[in-house]
Amino acid sequence: MINIDAHNHVSGKSIYLDDIIEWKGTLYALPFDVPVAHAKLGQIHMSGALSMAGVIAIFTAKDIPGKNQIGGIIADEPLFAEGEIHFWGQPIGIIVATSERICRLAREQIKIDFTALPVITDPREAQAKNMLICPPRNFQMGDVNSAWDDCEFVFEGEVNINGQEHLYIETQGAYARMKEDGSILIASSTQGPTAVQRTISNVLDIPMHKIEVDTVRLGGGFGGKEDQATGWAVMVALAAQKLQKPVKMVLHRMDDMRMTGKRHPYSADFKIGLSSDLKIIAYEATFYQNAGAAADLSPAVLERTLFHATNAYFVQNVHVTAFSCKTNLPPNTAFRGFGGPQGKFVIEAAITKVAESLGIPASDIQKRNLLQDGDEFSYGQIVDQCEAQNAWNSCE
């Protein structure tokens, strides 16, 4: 069956968030930030913007009725910065006006005082200063320390992997309007409607049953709208509640790229030991995840890096450790693979290093170590219905 949306997609009839025909009286919201990654926040000068024709209101942390908190796993991320800025692009508030264009022009009139603080962008530097999102995690199987002596070859190395921008073609956005009794309907371009509902409940201090989140479809998500769609939806809900008017926000591409987190960059050290017949006897790796300024989904992403640290290979002695390092970047988040790809990349790099040093093709090592039924993953699950060798053999 062909995708049931295909007909509407090719004829431009599919409705995405920004295609909802505006309810009468709709206002537009735009987040504003300050061009610094780490700073003590001073006064926010809003009078210039507020005096512009068409500007209705500006909301900041002090306007939040409930908790100024949107963290999904750990409560460490304010909706609007309060006191300090932790990354370049962190929203300080929103401007609400009668058009998007007026919002953008008004944003240029907002002046914000700040005192810059030292910026950390490197995860290893953060780890050295013990700036961690959560306690380090590690998975172990067998005993690597005693295994090194049994290895014919042992290699070590360092690997760096950059992040990745989701680049869903539809940018982040949400649209809210009031219903009766203080209930709110929010159309949100989110992968997690319940997360949006729960977070609005906390920030607006109203029960979840008063919040209806509706998602028709997304113009791409890739993980970038799993947790990161929430903030924008909360902002329009807040403005709708305050002003009792429909309020819509669709991010401009450059705001979206600047303000949202991406796939996590990682830095890693590995040590790999093989027998003379190329069996991987032991593998040790330490991962430094660049989490950005708040947890977002980083602890869960970190865990999946460990789950997939040995990719499709059976290794009897494994010790992998991971640090979620707090830096002054936008909070990095879910992205297709969710930390797994970074875990896999490091062992592939280790195998490549071995292959290059021994002057053999990496595929000799890869093939020799593929998983099979009955093997054990480092996290204790037994391999079952394994297709690793079948897939390899059919591909060759």
Binding site: L167, I211, E212, L371
Partner: protein, 340 residues
């Protein structure tokens, strides 16, 4: 051969096997709900917790219903994801959207079907109800009655034509403290071979071919699943090659627009992507034994890095290279001429 004959173009090959666990690793998130209403005119509306974002989950949901009820696709509408209709959803993520929501939907359909079987037995004397193209069959025998007759009769008899079902992945558990357990419903496997040609004068490269053998189990929709594989592998290659996020020391994003952050365009994708489905039995915990497909094939793209590295090494065999993804044309050119 090619590399010996060509001084300034080098080919590199890498093999990239993958193994990816399916389930949220946070066990409590592995559950979903579905709501099905059959209206008195025979039309069906479905809500689940799955969000459609291009991955085709709504199409797969529709297939579940159509296959269970034997009615045409035009009778079934998949509605938006709405917190009033489906509560407490997990995000559509972890490749698990179709499995979790599809299983819940199957359960809802099974309950409705059981009620309809009773109606068919009692009022149309059909003991072995099958529905094909909207017609009611008793085994292979066309009863002459159709879906609408059945629904109207059920409605008259005050049979409940709505069902809400809940599914929670069985068997899975994980102890975070000791780091042991059985966190995944199943694993997805596969292997890709990636071939690249590097222009050793300019430092640019192009992927000639990606050959993939992928374990889909019993794919319930090859159009959608192949689309997921092609899209994911290109996204993975993009990450390993062109896509470079640059923050400066002050923490400012330098690649802050599409003019500076480059994702693959129609010209930069591999000339050929061949996908072969591995003949495998599928897995009971996958929806209709059709294994989750969203994330795993992205990891074939990792091989892009190593394929390029092999080509670069063919040109510059003796230098020491860092391992620092993505392998942008800049890094390629610098490595090609490192120490030369």
């Amino acid at each position: 051969m090619f590399n010996e004959q060509n001084a300034h173009f080098k080919k590199g090959v890498a093999v990239q096997p993958i193994c990816f666990g399916i389930s949220f690793t946070n066990t409590m998130m592995n559950h979903a709900r579905a709501l099905v209403h059959i209206y008195q005119d025979g039309s069906v509306v479905v809500s689940t917790g799955a969000v459609e974002m291009g991955q085709g989950v709504n199409t797969k949901m529709l297939q579940v219903v159509v296959q269970k009820f034997g009615v045409g696709a035009e009778n079934v509408r998949i509605e938006s994801t709405n917190t009033l209709r489906i509560a407490n959803t997990s995000p559509t993520a972890a490749s698990a959207g179709a499995d979790l929501n599809g299983k819940a939907l199957e359960m809802a359909c099974v309950s409705l079907w059981e009620r309809l079987e009773n109606v068919a037995a009692e009022h149309f004397s059909i003991s072995n109800l099958k529905i094909q193209n909207g017609m009611l069959f008793d085994g292979f025998q066309n009863s002459g009655n159709n879906w609408l007759d059945l629904i109207q009769k059920a409605f008259q008899l005050r049979v409940n034509l709505s069902e809400h079902a809940h599914y929670a992945t069985p068997m899975i558990h994980f102890d975070k403290v000791i780091g042991k357990g059985h966190p995944f419903a199943y694993h997805v496997y596969g292997t890709a071979i990636l071939e690249v040609t590097v222009d050793c004068l300019r430092g640019t490269y192009h992927f000639d071919k990606v050959q993939i053998v992928h374990d889909l189990g019993k794919s319930m929709n090859t159009h959608i699943d192949n689309g997921q594989i092609e899209g994911a592998v290109v996204q993975g290659i993009g990450w390993m090659t062109l896509e470079e996020i640059i923050y400066n020391k002050e923490g400012k994003l330098i690649t802050n627009a599409l003019s500076t952050y480059k994702i693959p365009d129609i010209y930069s994708v591999p000339s050929e992507i061949n996908i072969k489905h591995l003949e495998s039995q599928g897995h009971e915990m996958a929806i209709q034994k059709s294994k989750a497909v969203g994330e795993p094939p992205l990891m074939y793209g990792l091989g892009a890095y190593f394929a390029i590295r092999n080509a670069v090494r063919a040109f510059n065999p003796d230098a020491e290279f860092e391992i620092d993804a993505p392998y942008t044309p800049e890094k390629v050119l610098m490595d090609l001429y490192k120490g030369r």
